[in-house]
């Protein structure tokens, strides 16, 4: 219990550092560009337009307001993808610093996921623009979005911790994870509608049961796209998976962190 108290205290002590690291990431991303932060909205918007054009005839014929459908899935997956990938490199990437100053190592992992969350917030702005333009209905459920985002944030932090510590010992993880992400992306109903997927029912069951991203994308779509409260199974499941992942991540990170210095 004391240890937990101590951890929370150090976290509190280093909160300014996390804030600084997050703002560094944001600053550096758009330093010396003309439009600056506008890109945070413009960029997802542009990609989304391209995707919508490409896929609406291919897969979206039966899906109403395909751009918004696509956006809601893509948004969350991109966040997860960027967040965990950056988190994975957070320890190795700050090696020179960690070799010279004592800083709790999780700070870097945490700040990476957090700065990606800010990107997500900007992307949400882009999503609202798309909704406006396509004339999608605005439901009051939109206000519940944070509930899902928090779940996903927790999940990403957990997965980020796990990947970050593993990456210290085996740099191969980066390449493997890139492949995993691609597979994962296609196994998540982003560009297609899972219920309209025919012919392979076992895959649908598998995805609905074991793909964590399904839980978050589905909840998010319920709130934004369908304007309804998500089902209890995916809502509770989402929280459960998030904390389970956090536990695994923290545990593995905690176990390995003292050895990092010897490997970075």
């Amino acid at each position: 219990m004391d240890l937990l108290k101590y951890r929370i205290k150090t976290l509190f002590r280093y909160q300014d550092l996390i804030r600084e690291l997050v703002s560094r990431d944001l600053k550096l991303k758009y330093r010396r560009s003309f439009l600056g932060y506008v890109w945070s909205i413009l960029n997802p918007l542009m990609i989304m337009i391209v995707l919508a054009i490409v896929f609406s005839n291919l897969l979206g014929k039966n899906i109403e307001n395909y751009p918004v459908y696509l956006f809601t899935g893509r948004l969350l997956f991109d966040f997860m993808k960027n967040g965990t990938t950056n988190a994975m490199r957070s320890v190795t990437g700050n090696a020179s610093l960690l070799r010279k100053v004592y800083v709790p190592k999780y700070i870097f992992t945490l700040s990476k996921v957090t700065s990606c969350t800010l990107d997500l917030v900007f992307s949400l702005g882009a999503m609202l623009i798309v909704m406006l333009v396509t004339g999608a209905p605005f439901h009051w459920h939109l206000l519940l979005m944070p509930l899902v985002i928090i779940q996903l944030y927790i999940f990403c932090v957990g997965l980020g911790f796990f990947l970050a510590q593993l990456n210290v010992f085996f740099r191969d993880v980066q390449h493997i994870y890139a492949a995993v992400l691609t597979a994962w992306q296609y196994l998540t109903p982003i560009i297609y509608d899972l219920d309209k997927l025919e012919g392979i029912p076992w895959l649908v069951v598998l995805i609905k049961g074991f793909n964590p991203m399904y839980y978050y994308v589905a909840q998010f779509r319920d709130l934004v796209y369908y304007g309804q409260f998500p089902g209890m199974r995916i809502f509770l499941g989402g929280w459960l998976i998030a904390f389970l992942m956090l536990f695994v991540g923290v545990w593995s990170f905690q176990r390995a962190k003292d050895k990092f210095i010897l490997y970075i």
């Binding site: 600084e20 560094r24 004592y102 010897l262």
Partner: protein, 637 residues
Amino acid sequence: MSKYAIEVDNVKIRFNLSNEKVDNLKEYAIKLVRHELMFQEFFALKGVSLKIKKGEAWGLVGANGSGKSTLLKTISGILKPYEGSVKINGSIAPLIELGAGFDGDLTARENIYLNGLVLGHSREFMDEHFDEIVEFSNLENFLDSPVKNFSSGMKARLGFSVATIVNPDILIVDEVLEVGDMRFRRKCNERMQQMLSGGTTLLFVSHNIEAVKNLCEKAVWLDHGEIRMIGDAQEICETYQAEQERLTKEKKREHREKLRREGKKYDYLIVGAGLYGAVCAKELTKRGKRCLVIDKRSHIGGNVYTEDVDGIQVHRYGAHIFHTSDPKLWKYVNRLAEFNNYINAPVAVYKDELYNLPFNMNTFSRLWNVRTPKEVKEKIASQIADLHITEPKNLEEQALSLVGTDVYEKLIKGYTEKQWGRDCKDLPAFIIKRLPLRFTYDNNYFNDRYQGIPIGGYTKLVERLLENTDVMLDTDFFAYRKEHPDMFEKVIYSGMIDEYFDYCYGHLEYRTVRFETERIPEENYQGNAVVNYTDREVPYTRIIEHKHFEPEAEREAPKDFTIISREYSTEWQPGSEPYYPVNDEKNNALYARYRELADKEKNVIFGGRLGTYQYYDMDKVITAAITDIKKELKIKV
């Protein structure tokens, strides 16, 4: 609260060397199968214990890879001990690498914040101290440029300024101040001193031993992950430095040895391991030339050779007292050896009377029982006037016309006659040009600014000169040259010039002396290092009592015996030990003819007392050697 700031208890740090290579899965799998994974472990620290009290300043010394930085990192919490424990009481400011965590793309302003936060400060704190940091770093004009454009000195300045805004309980400094200009280094030092006086505990690593000595009171010497020595900083630094020097010498010696075994050709063959040859060897070796020094005697040092006889340094070839007025040369010899403050004040015995030398007021007052310089001058003038010498025909008349009867009879006549082995009346007048008389009560024989004798003897000094040179003793030059004509490019010859040319024009003459050395079971034989005997009846010219050349050694370890040498002048004949060139007309003319031959001799430099047929004081011969080598290597003097 504990009185210790840092307690390190039996800390071991283990690195896994193989880890460096195994960072991909394939290798991991292979090694796992082969059970090679945990092998090749390496302990950077092998059980180090250290207790540092609050407010103490500790230095960490040791060679590269001895574990200094590892220990600092363990104390700062960057590394976790594999075994043992580290206990820290208080806040730590680690200056392990200044500007660690600077992001090159961010501006100095942004980096100040980032760096401060990395060190655990709050944003509010940084806001408060921002101006102070900027002021200390002197980088006001560069605040908004990205740090990647900064020089390493500028980065260090920024880093130091951020790291030291707080007064930490413990300050850890790891060789960070080596960059940065003089002014900033001084500023840093001042700040550290200020922190120290404020009660901060300091842990300081530097290869600059002087800095450690200045800043620290205690020190630890780490060697291959273990504590070699712990305690007083001065003592440890000195021992450490001595050890480093010893190792360097060892390395050089091994290298020399290797080249020697391979039979590599020498750049210079130096004939004679006396002061001239040894200085040449040092000056050449220093500039990367490879030398071989040979000497036909069985010891180095030539005539300055001193032999250690049960703790007494015996001047085997007569009294040698170093004196010079050249400050640069005095510095030069003091780098080679430590000199004592011996001042030569010989006395003269005439029958049963004793006089001070050189001729000074002490001498005169004893002679005539007078007190003032005026009385003395009158006395001498009247004695000279009585003699009515207008044109001195021989040495006796010359001396008499200079100092009068009493001084000549008692202090000059007998001594000179013994020296030259004939009557003063038969000696030419030119031998004495002037006889210095001193009208003060000063017994210091020499007029030079600096004077002394190397503690431990001259041989040690010559050893220092020859420390990086191959030396072969008991080796005759002519025999060696015949046997190994291709082992050297050039020759520096400090032997007798006439011998080199096989006495083709005849022998040059020398004045020579002979010593009878005796060990006497008495503590103190004559109470002075040099006593001259000026009456002709005593066969020797003087007695040297060697222990008085090193009064400090005698004070430290009194001996119940003494060693004296009686000095006799003997007639020189071919083959006897040559001491003083006789620079009379005949011999000088002969030397000039040899000199002509020498100038034609290619690739041979003639030098030193015998090589140039002239008497040299020690300071003069050193200067001559240095000048000759600079000329040889075409270095501007």
